[in-house]
C-alpha cells in the first residue's frame, strides 16, 4: 500500500500511457488476423496474409501514395511559407504585427469542419473543381500556422548575440544567415515540417470536403473502407506507420538527447 502511494504518480502515468497505446496494440494485433468474412473485428486466426500482400486491398496503395505525395508537397510548401512569416515576425518590427499574429492564430482556433466547408464554399463559388489541387491548397493553409508558431518559438529562443558575433567575425548578412541563423533555427523548421506532414497525412475532415472521387487520400480510403469492411491491409499500414514513427521520433529524440546530455555535462 505504501508502495502504491509512493509510486502513485508513476502508476497513473503508465495507465494513461497504456490508454494512449492500447489502440495501436489492437491495430498491430489485427494486422495478423485472418478474418472470417470481410470484417476484421474479431480475432479468428493468425496469418501473415496481409503482411505478404500489403497492396492486396484494391485502391489502398494508390490512396496511400496520394497521401504521402500530398503530405510531402504540403509540408514543404507550408514550411517554406511559414518559415518566411516566422522570420518576419521574429526578426522585424513592422506595422501590422498584431494583425498578422491574429491571422496566424485564427486557423488554429477554427474547427476543421468550418475550414473545410468554407473552403469548399469558396471553391464552389469560384467554380473550381475539387481534387488533388484543392486538397493541397487546404493542407498548406492549415499547416501554415503550425509551422509559423513552431519556427517563431525557435527564433525567439535564438540568442541575437550569435548573429552579432558572426558579423563581428567578418560574416556579411547573407553568410550570417546561412552559416549561423539558419542552422540554429533548423530544428524548429524540421519540427514544423514534421508536424505539417503528420497533420496533412492524417487529415480527414478538411480533405473530405475538398477532395474529388478521383482523389482518394489514405484517411478517405480508411473511412470508406470502414463502411464496407476494413481490409486487414489497413492494419498493416497502421502498424508500419506506427513503427516508422517510433523509429523516426526515436532517432530524433536520441539526437536531441545526445545534444542536451552534452549540455548538462
Amino acid at each position: 500500500m505504501a508502495w502504491i502511494r509512493r509510486h502513485l504518480l508513476a502508476i497513473v502515468a503508465f495507465l494513461v500511457l497504456f490508454y494512449m497505446l492500447l489502440p495501436n496494440m489492437v491495430v498491430i494485433l489485427f494486422s495478423f488476423n485472418k478474418p472470417n468474412g470481410r470484417y476484421n473485428y474479431q480475432w479468428t486466426q493468425f496469418s501473415l496474409d496481409a503482411w505478404t500482400n500489403p497492396c492486396g486491398a484494391p485502391g489502398m496503395c494508390p490512396a496511400l501514395g496520394l497521401s504521402l505525395q500530398i503530405g510531402l508537397i504540403a509540408s514543404i510548401v507550408a514550411t517554406i511559407l511559414g518559415t518566411a512569416v516566422a522570420f518576419a515576425l521574429g526578426r522585424y518590427r513592422f506595422k501590422g504585427r498584431a494583425g498578422t499574429n491574429l491571422l496566424i492564430f485564427m486557423p488554429m482556433a477554427t474547427p476543421e469542419v468550418v475550414m473545410g466547408s468554407s473552403l469548399l464554399t469558396l471553391f464552389i463559388a469560384l467554380g473550381i473543381p475539387t481534387g488533388r489541387t484543392t486538397i493541397l491548397i487546404a493542407h498548406i493553409m492549415f499547416c501554415l500556422s503550425f509551422v509559423v508558431v513552431t519556427v517563431k518559438a525557435r527564433i525567439a529562443s535564438l540568442d541575437p548575440r550569435l548573429e552579432q558575433a558572426a558579423a563581428d567575425l567578418f560574416a556579411n548578412e547573407y553568410q550570417t544567415f546561412t552559416k549561423v541563423t539558419l542552422p540554429l533555427v533548423a530544428p524548429g523548421i524540421a519540427a514544423g515540417a514534421l508536424l505539417s506532414f503528420s497533420l496533412s497525412f492524417d487529415d480527414y475532415i478538411i480533405t473530405n470536403f475538398n477532395a474529388s472521387p478521383a482523389s482518394v487520400t489514405f484517411p478517405m480510403f480508411v473511412w470508406g473502407a470502414a463502411q464496407r469492411g476494413t481490409p486487414v491491409q489497413i492494419n498493416v499500414i497502421g502498424t508500419v506507420m506506427f513503427l516508422a514513427s517510433l523509429a523516426i521520433v526515436g532517432v530524433a529524440q536520441l539526437v536531441n538527447a545526445r545534444r542536451s546530455r552534452v549540455k548538462v555535462a
Binding site: R161, A167, F170, Q175, V180
Partner: protein
C-alpha cells in the same frame, strides 16, 4: 575586406543617443596601438555601447571612429578589422570548437585557416578539444575559445566585454593572468570592459573610468588610484575616506587644512585651485592604527583620534571602522602582518603621511560612485 593598416584607436566626440536616452555623451579617447586598455564604470554607464560602436554593431549618433588614419565610422561590422569577446561568449553552438575558431578566417578567405586556428587554440591551451562542441566545455574553457576565436584573426583591436564576468573568483584570477600573458604575446590592442576594479588595476596599462556616458578620468592605474580627479573615481576605484576640509593657509610645500577643528596637512600642489572648502581624501590602507593616545605617531604625519566600532578579520587583512568625534566613520585596512590588532570599543589614533592624501572639490558629491554600483533599488 579589412585592410591590414593598423594604428591607435581613436574615438572622436562620440555620442550615442537612443530615442530619448543618451547612452554615450561626447566621448573622446585615444587608445594606443598594442596597449591593454581597461574601460571601467558602473552598470549602464555606456561601456558596452562604446564597445559596440567600435565593433560596428551600433552606429554613433555623432562622432568619428578611427584606427590609425582610417576612418571606420561608416564601415560595416564585418568589414572592420576588430573583434569582440562577448561576455556570454556567444560561441556558435552548432559548430565544433575548431569551426568556431576558423569561422572568421574562412569568411575572409584565409587559406591555411586550420593551421592558424590550431595555433590559436594552442595559445589558449585547448588544442586537444578542437573537435568538441561548445556545450561540452566548462565556462572557463568556453571563455578561452571565445578568446581564441577573436585573436586568431589578428584584429587591429580586440574588444573584451566583461569576458570574465561569469567565472567564479579563483577561475577569474587565473584567466586574468592568462589574458595578460596572451596580450603581451600577440601584441594586439585590447580594450577590456570590466566591473571589477581590481581586475582593471592589475591588468591594464591605462584605465578609463566612465560615468553616465561621459569620461571621468583616464590614466595609469596607480595615478588614478592615488590621485583620483573626482569623488566618483575616488569612490568607484577602491574605497576612499573623504573628510570635509577648509584651507587655512599654504605656508610652504604643505598646505594647512582644518578638518573639524583638527589641523591636517596636504602637499600644496594637490589643492584644488580656486576652492576654499574641499574633500580631503585618504585610502583605508594608508591609515595606520596607533595607540589611542597618539603617542606612537611620528612627526610630520597627519593624525586623527577615534573609536573602533567594527573590526572584521578577512584573513589577509582586518577591516576596521573608526568613528571620529564628529560622528563620521573612517574605513581602515590593516594587513595582518603580525602587528597587534585593535579591538572594538578601544580608542585609537589614525596616522598617515600628508603625501598619501588627495583633495577634491567639495562641491562634488562625497558619495558619488560609492552607492552607484550597490544601488539596486531600481529593477534589475
Amino acid at each position: 575586406m579589412a585592410t591590414e593598416s593598423s594604428g591607435d584607436l581613436r574615438l572622436i566626440d562620440i555620442t550615442k543617443r537612443y530615442e530619448t536616452f543618451t547612452a554615450v555623451d561626447n566621448l573622446s579617447l585615444v587608445i594606443p596601438q598594442g596597449s591593454f586598455f581597461a574601460l571601467l564604470g558602473p552598470s549602464g554607464c555606456g561601456k558596452t555601447t562604446t564597445l559596440r560602436m567600435v565593433a560596428g554593431l551600433e552606429q554613433p549618433t555623432v562622432g568619428r571612429i578611427l584606427i590609425g588614419d582610417r576612418d571606420i565610422t561608416d564601415t560595416k561590422a564585418y568589414q572592420r578589422n576588430v573583434n569582440t569577446v562577448f561576455q556570454s561568449y556567444a560561441l556558435f553552438p552548432h559548430l565544433s570548437i575548431l569551426d568556431n575558431v576558423t569561422f572568421g578566417l574562412r569568411r575572409r578567405g584565409v587559406s591555411d585557416y586550420k593551421a592558424k586556428a590550431m595555433e590559436a587554440l594552442e595559445l589558449v591551451q585547448l588544442a586537444h578539444i578542437a573537435k568538441k562542441k561548445p556545450a561540452q566545455l566548462s565556462g572557463g574553457m568556453q571563455q578561452r575559445v571565445a578568446l581564441a576565436r577573436a585573436i586568431v584573426n589578428r584584429p587591429d583591436v580586440l574588444l573584451l566585454d566583461e569576458p570574465l564576468g561569469a567565472l567564479d573568483l579563483k577561475l577569474r584570477r587565473q584567466m586574468q593572468i592568462e589574458l595578460k600573458r596572451i596580450q603581451s604575446e600577440v601584441g594586439i590592442t585590447f580594450v577590456h570592459v570590466t566591473h571589477d576594479q581590481e581586475e582593471a588595476m592589475t591588468m591594464a596599462d591605462t584605465i578609463a573610468v566612465m560615468n553616465a556616458g561621459r569620461l571621468e578620468q583616464v590614466g595609469d592605474p596607480g595615478v588614478l588610484y592615488e590621485n583620483p580627479a573626482t569623488t566618483f573615481v575616488a569612490n568607484f576605484l577602491g574605497q576612499s575616506n573623504l573628510l570635509k576640509a577648509e584651507v587655512v593657509g599654504t605656508p610652504g610645500e604643505l598646505a594647512d587644512l582644518d578638518v573639524h577643528g583638527t589641523k591636517l596637512r596636504l602637499p600644496t600642489p594637490r589643492l584644488v585651485e580656486g576652492v576654499q572648502t574641499m574633500w580631503l581624501g585618504v585610502r583605508p590602507e594608508k591609515l595606520r592604527l596607533v595607540n589611542g593616545d597618539g603617542t606612537g605617531v611620528e612627526d610630520g604625519l597627519n593624525s586623527l583620534t577615534g573609536t573602533v566600532t567594527d573590526a572584521s578579520f578577512t584573513g589577509l587583512a582586518t577591516n576596521y571602522l573608526v568613528r571620529l568625534p564628529w560622528g563620521q566613520e573612517l574605513a581602515v585596512v590593516q594587513q595582518n602582518d603580525g602587528m597587534p590588532r585593535a579591538s572594538v570599543g578601544t580608542s585609537v589614533t589614525l596616522a598617515w603621511a600628508p603625501e598619501h592624501s588627495f583633495a577634491l572639490d567639495s562641491r562634488q558629491d562625497a558619495h558619488a560612485g560609492a552607492q552607484d554600483q550597490a544601488d539596486d533599488t531600481g529593477a534589475a
